[in-house]
C-alpha cells in the first residue's frame, strides 16, 4: 500500500504560553510572534504516521518495509527538520511544498494536496483529524471532496482488508460507528488509533501487540534519514494558485482568566453556579 501522510509543524503545545501576540491597545496584531517558539510535529499527524507505518509493515519485523509511506508538509526550509524526523521514524520519502505559513489556509492546503495526490497516486491519504494550533479540522474533508474520494473521519481503529478496503471504527458521540471504505480514500485519525491494537494489518499477526503510542525514531533509522529522498516543490509546480480564501485581519489574545473567588457556603456556590455560571 502507498500512503500519503500530510504533516504540519506546530508551536510546542506545552509552551503555548510563550506565543506572543503584540496587539496595540484596542487593536489587533498583524501577526503572531513566532521567534523563540519551539516547533514540534502536530501530535495527530504523528498518530497518522504511526498508523501508516503499521499498515505498511509486518509488526514483528519492522525493518523490512512492505509498502510506502510518503510524508508531505507545507512550509519554509526549517520544516525539513520535521520531515527528517518523520523519515527517521520510518517514513520512506518526503516532499516539502515550499511556502511561508502566512500564505496558507486549510482550503489551499487541500487543493494543493489534491494535485499532489494526482502526481503521487497513493492508495490512501492518512492524516491527523486536526492540528493543535488552529484546530480547524477541515483539510481531510475538503481534500476528499476535491478528489471525489470517500472519506472517513475520526478513525480510532483500522483493519486492513487486503490493501483494497479498510474497516474503520470511527468515534462518535457515546460510541463508535463501524464503516468499511474502499481504497483509494481519505482518512483522518484521532489518538486512539495508536493504541496497541489500533491497527490490524496482515502480515502482522493478529496477536501482535504494538507498544502504546507512536514509535521512537530508532538510532539506525536516524542515521539513514538523510539518505532518504526529500523533494521540494513549489505551489506552481502543482498548478495551484497561492490564493488563500481566508483573510487574516489580525490577531488578539484571548482575555486573561479572571481571578477565582472563594465561596463561603454551599448555598452561595449553588447560587453562583445557577446565576453566574448558568450551569445548573
Amino acid at each position: 500500500m502507498k500512503i500519503l501522510v500530510p504533516l504540519k509543524r506546530v508551536a510546542d503545545p506545552e509552551n503555548a504560553n510563550k506565543v506572543k501576540i503584540a496587539a496595540p491597545a484596542g487593536g489587533l496584531a498583524p501577526k503572531i510572534e513566532t521567534t523563540g517558539l519551539e516547533w514540534k510535529p502536530n501530535p495527530f499527524d504523528e498518530y497518522a504516521l504511526e498508523a501508516a507505518l503499521r499498515l505498511t509493515e509486518n509488526g514483528t519485523a519492522v525493518k523490512a518495509r512492505l509498502g510506502e509511506v510518503i510524508v508531505v508538509t507545507f512550509g519554509p526550509a526549517e520544516c525539513d527538520q520535521t520531515l527528517r524526523g518523520a523519515l527517521a521514524t520510518g517514513a520512506d520519502r518526503a516532499i516539502r511544498v515550499d511556502v511561508t505559513d502566512d500564505q496558507l489556509d486549510g482550503d489551499l492546503v487541500a487543493r494543493a494536496l489534491a494535485k499532489l495526490v494526482d502526481q503521487v497516486k497513493p492508495d490512501l491519504v492518512l492524516m491527523g483529524k486536526q492540528t493543535v494550533d488552529s484546530d480547524s479540522n477541515q483539510v481531510a474533508q475538503l481534500l476528499a471532496a476535491y478528489l471525489g474520494w470517500p472519506q472517513v473521519t475520526f478513525a480510532a481503529n483500522i483493519v486492513n482488508e487486503d490493501n483494497k478496503a479498510l474497516k474503520i471504527g470511527r468515534v462518535a458521540d457515546g460510541g463508535q460507528i463501524n464503516v468499511r471504505v474502499q481504497l483509494p480514500a481519505v482518512v483522518n485519525v484521532e489518538d486512539r488509533v495508536v493504541n496497541p491494537k489500533g491497527v490490524t494489518s496482515p502480515p502482522t499477526p493478529a496477536t501482535h501487540k504494538y507498544a502504546d503510542g507512536v514509535r521512537f525514531a530508532p538510532l539506525p533509522a536516524i542515521m539513514q534519514a538523510k539518505k532518504k529522498p526529500l523533494e521540494v516543490k513549489k505551489l506552481a509546480d502543482l498548478g495551484v494558485e497561492a490564493a488563500p480564501k481566508v483573510k487574516y485581519l489580525g490577531y488578539e489574545a484571548p482575555p486573561a482568566r479572571k481571578a477565582g473567588v472563594k465561596v463561603k457556603t454551599v448555598a452561595e456556590l449553588v447560587d453562583k453556579l445557577k446565576n453566574e455560571a448558568k450551569v445548573l
Binding site: 524526523g85 521512537f216 538510532l219
Partner: protein, 619 residues
C-alpha cells in the same frame, strides 16, 4: 503544581547547554563527516540528541520514582526488578540508544565519544538505577572485545550489544573491597580447558535481573597456585547460564543469588550477593588465553566504568539543579528584600531571594563545570582515535589527558554531585525533604557515586601516585601548559580580567603543590601524601573546572557580539550571559579556595596522623 511521584517523568535537561559544549566549546564539528566519523553530520548529532532525550523522558523518567519506591526483591531465587524495567530494557535496545558509540562492526553507529556521553547523560539522568544494567553490560562487552579470543567475541558480543544478554563486573568480596588483591575466589583448570569457579562476590550491580535470558559475569579469581595479591588474579567469563558454542542456553551454571542489598538509593538496581560454584558446577572461561592478567584487563573496564560514574554524577546533579530551578520560580514566599519593611508587599517567587539565587548559580556553575570535565575527556578520547597511527605525538597527548582526567571526573564529579543534590533540597525547603519532589531521591541516589568503582580516596591516590608522574610527568605538564596558555592569551580580557587572575593564582597553587608532593616522594615523607591527596584532587579539579568554564565564558562573550537585537537574539543572549556569569561566579567564589588549600597543605599539618585511635572518643 502537585507532584505525586508515581510514574511521572521529572527529568529534564538543558539541550542548549549540551549543544554549546559539543559544538561551540569542544569543536565536535571538526570531527564530523571525516573518518572514522564519516557517517555523522550535524543533523544526525542533533537528531540523536533530541530523540534520545525524548526517549529518556518518555520511557525511563517515569520509572525513576517507581524503581525507588518499589525496589528489587527475590522470588524463587531470582531477582524481580521494579515494574516497567523489563519493557524499558526492550525498548532501549529496540531504539538502539546503547549502540551510539559502539563500533560499526558490532552493529553500532561508531559515534564520537563526545556525543555518546551526552546520550548517556540523558539515560542516566532520567533513571540512574535503570541505566546501570545496560551501562555495565556495555562495559563488560568492551572488555571481551578488547581482550577476548575470536571465539569469545563471536559468542558474547552480538548478544551483549543487542541486549539479549546482560553483563556485570565482579571484583568485590566480603574481605576484598578497596583491596581488590585480597580476593579469595578461586579457579581450577578443567580438562575441557575451562575453569571451575568458586567464591562469593558481594555488591554486584546488575548481579541478577529478570529481563535477559543470560548474564555474563566478569569475575576476578585466582587460579590455583597463582601468586597472592593483584598479580595473581585472572579474569573469567562466567555465565549465569551454561551455553553451547552457538549460544543456546543449556541450563543454570551454579551461580546462586545469595541476597540483594537494602540500600540508601539506586533502589531499582540490583546489588547482589553471588555465590559461584557452591555445588562445584560453575564453569568459567579465561578472558583471552593468558592467566594472571586479570587486573590490567579489569582496569580497562574500570576506566570506562569510572568515566561512567562521573557521567552518573553530572546526570543526577543536573536533574536536581533543573528541578530546583523550576520550583524556585513557582514557590512564593516572603517579599523582595527591598520591601522588607512593608508587610503588604507582594510575595515573590523564592528565586528573587539573594541566597536562593546564590544557591542556584552555585549549582549551575558546578553542574556545568563537571560536565565540561567529562566532555573534555571524551573529546580527548576522540582526538586520540583520530590521531592514532597518524600523528603519534598528538595521539599520546590526547591519551595522556584522558588518563589524567579519569580520577578527576570520577572523584570530583561524584563529590560535587552529592553536594549539588543537597543544595537542591535546600532550595526547596521543607518539601525538598519529602517524597513529593524528586530532590531527596537524587540526593540518596548520588551518594554511591563517591564509593563504588574505587572510593574517591582511591581515585586521589591513583592521581597522585600514578597519573601525575605518568609519561615522565608529561601529561601533567601538558595539562598545566594548556591552562597557562589560556591565561597568557586572556590576561587582559576586558570582561574576564579579574577572573583570569584568580585562575592564574589557582594555576600556580596547583603547580606548587604538585612540586611539594614530588618533594615528599623524593624525601621519603610518604605518609603526608595520603593525608593531602583527596584535597589535591579537589584543587586540581577546581582549577580544571575554573579554566573550562572561563574558556566557555570567553566564547560566550564573543558570540554575544554577533547576536541579533531584540526578541530574535534574546534567548541566546540570556544563555550566553548565564555561561559568563557562572564562570565568573566560580572564578571569584571557588577558585580562591585553591590557593588557600595550597597554603594549608604547605603547612604539612600532621594532627590526623598524630592522634591515637583511642583519642578520637572515649567510647
Amino acid at each position: 503544581m502537585s507532584n505525586a511521584q508515581t510514574a511521572q517523568n521529572r527529568y529534564k535537561a538543558d539541550l542548549r547547554e549540551i549543544r554549546f559544549l559539543l559544538f561551540e566549546q569542544f569543536g565536535l564539528g571538526e570531527l564530523l563527516g571525516k573518518e572514522p566519523y564519516a557517517s555523522w553530520g550535524e543533523d544526525e548529532v542533533n537528531m540523536v540528541l533530541d530523540e534520545s532525550y525524548k526517549f529518556s523522558c518518555d520511557v525511563l523518567g517515569p520509572l525513576n520514582s517507581v524503581g525507588d519506591r518499589v525496589g528489587c526483591h527475590i522470588e524463587n531465587g531470582q531477582a524481580v526488578t521494579p515494574p516497567g524495567f523489563k519493557e524499558a530494557w526492550t525498548k532501549l535496545y529496540e531504539a538502539g540508544w546503547k549502540s551510539v558509540g559502539v563500533k560499526t562492526e558490532h552493529g553500532g553507529q561508531g559515534a564520537p565519544m563526545a556525543l555518546s556521553v551526552a546520550v548517556e547523560e540523558f539515560l542516566s539522568g532520567a533513571n540512574v538505577a535503570f541505566a546501570m544494567y545496560p551501562g555495565l553490560t556495555v562495559g563488560a562487552s568492551e572488555v571481551i572485545d578488547h581482550f577476548g579470543t575470536p571465539a569469545q567475541k563471536e559468542l558474547y558480543l552480538p548478544r551483549m550489544f543487542d541486549g539479549r544478554w546482560a553483563g556485570t563486573m565482579c571484583l568485590t568480596e566480603p574481605a576484598a573491597g578497596s583491596d581488590v588483591g585480597a580476593a579469595r575466589s578461586t579457579a581450577k583448570k578443567l580438562p575441557n580447558g575451562k575453569y571451575s569457579i568458586k567464591g562469593t562476590k558481594l555488591f554486584i550491580s546488575g548481579g541478577d535481573n529478570d529481563f535477559t535470558e543470560n548474564i555474563i559475569h566478569l569475575v576476578l579469581a585466582r587460579v590455583d597456585g597463582a601468586p597472592q595479591g593483584t598479580k595473581g588474579l585472572s579474569l573469567f567469563i562466567v555465565g549465569k547460564m551454561k551455553t553451547d558454542a552457538s549460544g543456546a542456553i543449556l541450563g543454570p551454571n551454579d551461580v546462586a543469588l545469595g541476597g540483594l542489598e537494602h540500600k540508601m538509593g539506586i533502589n531499582g538496581s540490583t546489588t547482589a550477593l553471588l555465590n559461584f560454584g557452591e555445588n562445584d558446577q560453575c564453569e568459567g572461561e579465561l578472558v583471552g588465553t593468558v592467566e594472571n592478567l586479570g587486573m590490567p584487563q579489569m582496569f580497562k573496564m574500570m576506566n570506562v566504568a569510572r568515566i561512567g560514574v562521573g557521567l552518573q554524577s553530572v546526570s543526577v546533579a543536573s536533574a536536581a539543579f533543573l528541578n530546583a530551578l523550576e520550583y524556585s520560580k513557582e514557590r512564593k514566599q516572603g517579599p523582595n528584600i527591598r520591601n522588607w519593611k512593608d508587610a503588604n508587599a507582594p510575595r515573590v517567587a523564592i528565586i528573587e531571594h539573594p541566597d536562593v539565587r546564590r544557591m542556584l548559580l552555585d549549582m549551575k556553575a558546578r553542574v556545568e563545570g563537571i560536565r565540561c570535565l567529562i566532555v573534555k575527556l571524551a573529546r580527548h578520547q576522540d582526538g586520540f582515535v583520530v590521531n592514532q597511527g597518524k600523528d603519534d605525538a598528538a595521539a599520546s597527548y590526547h591519551l595522556g589527558q584522558v588518563d589524567l582526567l579519569v580520577p578527576l571526573v570520577k572523584a570530583y564529579g561524584s563529590d560535587q554531585s552529592f553536594r549539588i543534590c543537597e543544595t537542591a533540597i535546600q532550595v526547596y525547603g521543607g518539601v525538598g525533604y519529602t517524597k513529593d519532589y524528586p530532590a531527596e531521591q537524587y540526593c540518596r541516589d548520588s551518594k554511591i557515586f563517591s564509593i563504588y568503582e574505587g572510593t574517591n580516596h582511591i581515585q586521589s591516590m591513583d592521581l597522585v601516585g600514578r597519573k601525575l608522574g605518568q609519561n615522565g610527568g608529561a601529561n601533567l605538564q601538558a595539562f598545566l601548559g594548556d591552562i597557562g596558555k589560556f591565561i597568557a592569551e586572556n590576561a587582559s580580557h576586558p570582561a574576564l580580567g579579574p577572573s583570569i587572575k584568580e585562575l592564574q593564582a589557582a594555576h600556580e597553587a596547583v603547580g606548587m603543590t604538585a612540586m611539594r608532593m614530588l618533594g615528599w616522594f623524593q624525601m621519603g615523607q610518604m605518609s603526608m601524601v595520603p593525608v593531602v591527596s583527596t584535597r589535591f584532587l579537589e584543587m586540581m579539579s577546581e582549577l580544571a573546572v575554573g579554566w573550562l568554564l572561563l574558556v566557555g565564558a570567553s566564547i560566550a562573550i564573543e558570540k554575544t557580539k554577533g547576536l541579533a537585537d531584540g526578541e530574535e537574539g534574546a534567548k541566546d543572549r540570556a544563555f550566553y550571559a548565564g555561561k559568563t556569569l557562572a564562570a565568573k561566579y566560580f572564578a571569584m567564589n571557588v577558585l580562591p579556595g585553591v590557593k588557600l588549600k595550597a597554603e594549608v597543605l604547605g603547612r604539612e599539618d600532621t594532627s590526623s596522623l598524630d592522634i591515637s585511635d583511642t583519642a578520637f572518643a572515649t567510647v
